[in-house]
């Protein structure tokens, strides 16, 4: 049996159903072996898409997504997606072809040291030179990708290794030591100390990060919040960890956070951070975040404690497990709290912001935030949303209300334009029966738009809504606010017709002239299970607010012109 066949058999036994990639000289034996299996391979049009699709797939399935490329350019094209996966802790396994062993180190045709290139950003990467180790190395890479803090791994396989004969003694393998470990556990006294802080706190707030989704800890977060009657806010990556229509959930915090969410953080005297790496975009300068409040930090990766902000108490472990312990102990020592005026006030401020934004109408142009709001109200709760990167992403984070866990997929850490559409393809491959909508920017869309070819080829009908401002809107906004409106290379002056472009791939497309038309078209496409691209012309002058200028504390937030919360905030000081 060829070692490539052994590998593919092992992959199937590990649960692999789908691979995203492109074949080439060095991974041909691997592709040849896939023919004999029931693994589906999705032929993407650029390897970057394969990596993002694998991320989208992994996010929905909760197990690693697989992508593949040939040696040299095939492998290097995967890198952006792998670094993206590392930044957002997404389990992805990349399988790359490599030149034959005898040619390695000779600058052979399409030779590139892909392991060396990804090493800074990968959990594990290896060039497998012994064919008898190939399946074992896969099992190791697959296991460690999802073990504790998830992340990407890479197997680089010389072509001759794939072709070599190995014993036909197939039996499913288990990961070797160090490729599997149980999560850390918090010391009991730290749990007790944390509960004491919770009981003493007047304004506790829970901050949910991406780890809550990986851990499946939504119910535990809600139970804790309901007992403490405290607000829950999320990071961008933690969005959809808790239902955003729950009365204690106040949306995303941070640079482009909801006004009421940022206020919850700045007003808090205790913040319980669950599965978050407390990035500058989420919590602003650490010194301010640490000032005047206690911090309980729960994370599966102990290296996160104190990396950005110094916790009062660190609780290492899986979020769900740690929260279970906290809730159990808390219920023993303290009664459920009644709703606080603090929470009521946050709710009022949120409602005021929403009302202000949604009442804007010049009768001419469509407003991005209103489009997001319309879709959020009109689409079913199981809808999976992906995004590109930019202003549209921020409008989506502000106005899309996630109702089911894990339904929000975005590129947070690396902020990779072009992520949305291939991630949507991967999510659709993982959940063909659920609506998948990519809320994209025209700049982001154009970077990976050829993914539409796969949407058609594999009948994976995703809906792409393009917020078409003919600009690199987010960069334009920074030039507007921080570079005296000196716009440089942010406006598109071409006439690319995104409707025709989409149609040329075989995907129906419309240019939306009204909110009503837009929603009707999207609903029709969902009913008919058809792919659709909607080009939504929006004003290039739109600025996303709230915005906290970089490096500033959340209280320095810039609100939409004309929206005043000064009086409201002042009156909060009573609580």
């Amino acid at each position: 049996m060829r070692s490539a066949d052994h590998l593919v058999k092992q992959m199937r036994a590990s649960g692999v159903e789908v691979i995203f990639g492109i074949p080439g000289g060095a991974n041909m034996p691997f592709y040849d072996a896939i023919i004999n299996s029931d693994i589906t391979s999705i032929l993407v049009r650029h390897e970057q898409e394969a990596a993002h699709a694998a991320e989208g797939y992994a996010k929905i399935k909760g197990r690693p997504g697989i992508c593949s490329g040939t040696s040299g350019p095939g492998a290097t094209n995967l890198i952006t997606g792998l670094v993206d996966a590392a930044m957002d802790s997404v389990p992805v396994v990349a399988i790359t072809g490599q030149v034959v062993r005898a040619f390695m180190g000779t600058d052979a045709f399409q030779e590139a040291d892909i392991v060396g290139m990804v090493l800074p950003h990968i959990k594990y990467a290896v060039t497998v030179k012994d064919s008898r180790r190939l399946s074992q190395e896969f099992v190791n890479a697959y296991s460690i990708a999802v073990c504790n803090r998830p992340g990407p791994t890479l197997l680089d396989i010389p072509r001759d290794v794939q072709q070599e004969e190995v014993e036909d003694d197939f039996k499913p393998l288990s990961p070797e030591p160090y490729f599997y470990s149980t999560p850390p556990e918090p010391p009991l006294d730290a749990i007790m100390e944390s509960v004491k802080l919770m009981v003493e706190a007047e304004k506790p707030v829970i901050l949910c990060g991406g780890g809550v989704i990986y851990s499946g800890a939504s119910a535990e977060v809600l139970e804790l919040a309901e007992h403490l009657a405290c607000p829950i806010v999320t990071t961008t990556m933690g969005k959809s960890s808790v239902p955003e229509n729950h009365p204690l959930v106040f949306g995303v915090v941070g640079m482009h956070g909801r006004v009421e969410a940022d206020l919850a953080v700045t007003e808090s005297d205790l913040i319980i951070c669950v599965g978050s790496r407390l990035s500058d975009r989420a919590v602003g300068p650490a010194k301010e975040f640490e000032r005047n409040r206690k911090i309980i930090h729960i994370d599966i990766d102990p290296s996160e404690f104190g990396k950005n902000a110094k916790p009062t108490i660190a609780l290492p472990g899986d979020a769900r497990r740690v929260l279970r312990e906290l809730v159990e102990y808390l219920k023993h020592v303290a009664a459920k709290r009644p709703e606080s005026p603090f929470v009521q006030r946050l709710r009022e401020i949120g409602a005021a912001y929403e009302e202000y934004m949604l009442s804007m109408d010049d009768g001419k142009t469509l407003h991005s935030w209103k489009v997001v709001d319309l879709l959020s109200r009109g689409l079913p709760p199981e809808t999976i949303v992906t995004t590109g990167v930019g202003q549209h992403q921020m409008w989506a984070q502000l106005f899309w209300k996630s109702r089911m866990a894990g339904t929000w997929i975005t590129s947070g850490g690396l902020g990779t334009m072009g992520f949305g559409l291939p991630a949507a393809l991967g999510a659709k491959a993982a959940a063909p029966d659920r609506p998948v909508v990519d809320l994209d920017g025209d700049g982001s869309f154009i970077m990976t738009c050829q993914t539409l070819a796969c949407v058609v080829d594999y009948n994976l009908p995703v809906i792409t809504v393009i917020f078409d401002n003919r600009a690199l809107g987010m960069v334009r906004q920074w030039q507007d606010m921080f570079y005296n409106k000196r716009y440089k290379d942010v406006d598109y002056t071409d006439r690319t017709d995104l409707v025709k472009l989409s149609e040329s791939f075989g995907v129906e497309a419309i240019r939306a002239e009204s909110y009503d038309e837009l929603l009707k078209a999207v609903k029709r496409a969902l009913r008919n299970n058809q792919a659709l691209t909607v080009d939504v012309p929006v004003d290039r002058g739109e600025l996303v607010f709230p915005m906290v200028p970089p490096g500033r504390w959340l209280t320095d937030v810039k609100l939409p012109p004309g929206f005043e919360i000064g009086a409201r905030v002042l009156s909060m000081e009573r609580f």
């Binding site: 090493l119 800074p120 959990k123 594990y124 290896v126 504790n148 160090y178 990766d301 290296s303 104190g306």
Partner: protein
């Protein structure tokens, strides 16, 4: 502050490279390194003298354990921060 980091790692050049890259990510500078094989060549042990912030040293010792290349880390403080 000077820090002494002891690491047991897989016997592979990738593991050594990853070690140095993670030191770099921590913003620490390297004063001295010694790497020896152990367990009959199955594994390596590395002893690094590093200079930098204590928290960064702690971060490094913990961070490495996220990666299967590294099996054990121990951090020792060698001198107090300068006044």
């Amino acid at each position: 502050m000077r820090l002494l980091l002891y690491v047991e790692l897989m016997n592979s050049l990738d593991a050594v490279a990853k070690l140095m890259l993670t030191v770099k990510q921590g913003g620490l500078s390297l004063e001295n390194i010694s790497i020896n094989s152990m367990d009959g060549g199955q594994r390596l042990s590395a002893t690094l003298t590093l200079v930098g912030r204590e928290e960064k040293g702690e971060w490094l010792a913990r961070k490495l354990l996220n990666f299967p290349y590294f099996h054990k880390t121990r951090l020792l403080k060698l001198s107090e921060p300068e006044a």
